[in-house]
């Protein structure tokens, strides 16, 4: 069941999913489903644009990690847009900043995704 909150937009041939202000237990399942669906199509890059996101709890991280694992299993990759310092801090504490590729702007993430495999 596609979640109305998570639509996929194509930018320069790269699928981009934008996340909401808060990602928590109430919407993480919808995000996870949307990301897994996108990560399973094609072997290219999936950009998760977290520009608007200011809060992401463990349920949210879980969704991102699930998408990252699925993409990697299919030979693809997940690229995060992470301009927010709070979220970056969470990524640093959990160690995820060293595992999932991330960029300060959407442009940079899309450029990296369009350029092909890292």
């Amino acid at each position: 069941m596609p979640d109305a909150g998570f639509s996929v937009e194509m930018i320069r041939g790269v699928p981009v999913v934008a996340t909401p202000e808060d990602i928590d237990i109430t919407n993480a399942a919808g995000l996870r489903a949307a990301l897994l669906q996108s990560a399973v199509h094609g072997t290219g890059a999936l950009v998760v644009d977290m520009t608007r996101t200011q809060f992401c709890d463990t349920a949210g991280l879980h969704a991102l990690v699930a998408a990252h694992k699925r993409a990697r299993a299919n030979g693809g990759r997940v690229l995060l847009v992470l301009p927010d310092l709070t979220i970056l801090r969470i990524f640093a504490i959990t160690g995820l900043d060293r595992v999932i590729e991330h960029f300060p702007s959407l442009e940079e993430a899309v450029a990296a995704g369009a350029a092909g495999p890292a």
């Binding site: 928590d24 237990i25 809060f55 349920a59 990690v65 694992k69 504490i93 959990t94 160690g95």
Partner: protein, 410 residues
């Protein structure tokens, strides 16, 4: 008896609808509601049997759960695979089915035709957009069920689905709470020279995935674990229980905290590939002078020394549990000065919406002061939680190294 839409039967039908939608039903306990609903359904539709089969999502089978006039179905634990037989077809096709002819070709369950049931009608029970079971009625005399009959049965099916959801949610909640309680130490171990206190507060959404553990090793060393499993409720509590036992076992095998976490990670990735958690593991010398600590995506402890503001311990981040990544985990050795107080916690204590995490950490550092641990816990809870109900669950553990023996002055 077929339902013709003459004025008499309309009145009868309204009475039937009333008996199924009766508000008095909701004053019953959910389990009683299901039994009463089946009885009323049987009466309203004037059938001989009424039964509920619930879908077991793990096996894909419908399991007979409640029955009126067909109790043997429940007692014998009848199971019907989704997609097969009468009930299986209703669940698979997500729509009502009427059977005018009951025998082994149309019905899988021998109890039904052995019992002499001639006609059957069943509807899917739907909750949250998915089929959770099937409600069916049967007649010992040949009978043509009508559209109004189907509608009435669907009404009962919807009501039953809501009751079952409620029973399941309640059972899961109770199990999660019981499991959570069994997972945190009932009593903290008595360790010479150490004073400890802890708090666990479930979030407003019920039990989450936070836990803590404190145990001693045969060497006399003291081990502290703080963990946070992604997710909530019963599934998170089950994962939490498995992680706790595995970690204790690895703690007996190796003294190196990084190795304990690596083994735990490997175990989780193999047996629970979808689980994810942050874990702090510290092993403290018997004299309490030093602790070796390794973090798997967890916040470092806050340490307060007498006469100085508390600060976040400088411990490098290690990757959380459940991400396939074999890079080595760092271990940090931290001194625990006499009379120092170490505060371990989960993110629920410091995370606030619309606030950078460093603000929450700074607030925690201001609230942690050297004093008896129960009082120190109370102050932290007062300062960081106050009177608001936390959304996420919170675990907090304080350990204070007692001051050395007092020197007796002249």
């Amino acid at each position: 008896m077929t339902a013709q839409l003459d004025p008499g039967s309309i009145e009868e039908r309204l009475r039937a609808i009333q008996s199924i939608t009766d508000a008095a039903l909701s004053r019953l306990d959910d389990r009683e509601l299901l039994a009463e609903l089946l009885e009323r359904t049987r009466e309203a539709l004037q059938t001989d049997t009424a039964a509920v089969l619930l879908l077991d999502f793990a096996s894909g089978q419908l399991i007979a759960t409640a029955a009126a006039g067909l109790e043997e179905e429940v007692r014998q634990g009848v199971r019907i695979p989704v997609g097969r037989g009468f009930a299986g077809r209703i669940a698979a096709e997500h729509r009502p089915v009427i059977l005018d002819h009951v025998d082994h070709t149309t019905v899988l369950n021998p109890i039904l035709w052995a019992r002499g049931i001639q006609s059957m009608m069943g509807v899917p029970m739907v909750a949250g957009g998915r089929v959770i079971g099937v409600l069916h009625v049967g007649s010992l005399t040949p009978r043509q069920f009508t559209d109004p009959d189907v509608e009435l049965l669907q009404l009962a099916g919807d009501r039953a689905a809501a009751a079952v959801q409620s029973v399941n949610a309640q059972a899961d909640r109770q199990a999660a709470v019981a499991l959570q309680r069994s997972l945190v130490p009932a009593v903290l171990p008595a360790v010479a020279g150490a004073e400890m206190a802890a708090r666990y507060i479930p979030g407003s959404g019920g039990v989450g995935g936070d836990w803590y553990d404190v145990f001693t090793l045969p060497t006399g060393e003291l081990c502290v674990v703080m963990g946070d499993v992604a997710g909530s409720g019963l599934p998170a509590a089950v994962i939490m229980g498995r992680m706790r036992s595995a970690l204790r076992a690895y703690a007996l095998e190796t003294r190196d905290p990084a190795e304990v976490l690596s083994r735990l990670d490997r175990k989780m990735q193999h047996f629970e590939p979808d689980a994810m958690a942050t874990v702090l593991y510290a092993i403290i010398e018997p004299g309490l002078e030093r602790m070796d600590i390794s973090l798997a995506g967890h916040f470092p402890p806050v340490i307060a020394r007498p006469g100085r503001p508390a600060e976040l311990a400088s411990v490098p981040a290690g990757l959380m549990i459940g991400i396939a990544d074999p890079s080595p985990r760092p271990v940090t050795s931290l001194p625990i000065p006499p009379d120092a107080l170490v505060c371990f916690y989960t993110d629920g204590l410091i995370e606030r919406r619309g606030e950078v995490i460093d603000e929450g950490l700074a607030r925690l550092c201001r609230a942690v002061t050297v004093q008896p641990v129960e009082a120190a816990c109370a102050i932290v809870m007062q300062e960081l939680v106050g009177s608001q109900a936390a959304r996420d669950d919170i675990a907090l553990l304080m350990l204070r190294r007692q001051p050395g023996p007092l020197t007796i002055g002249g």
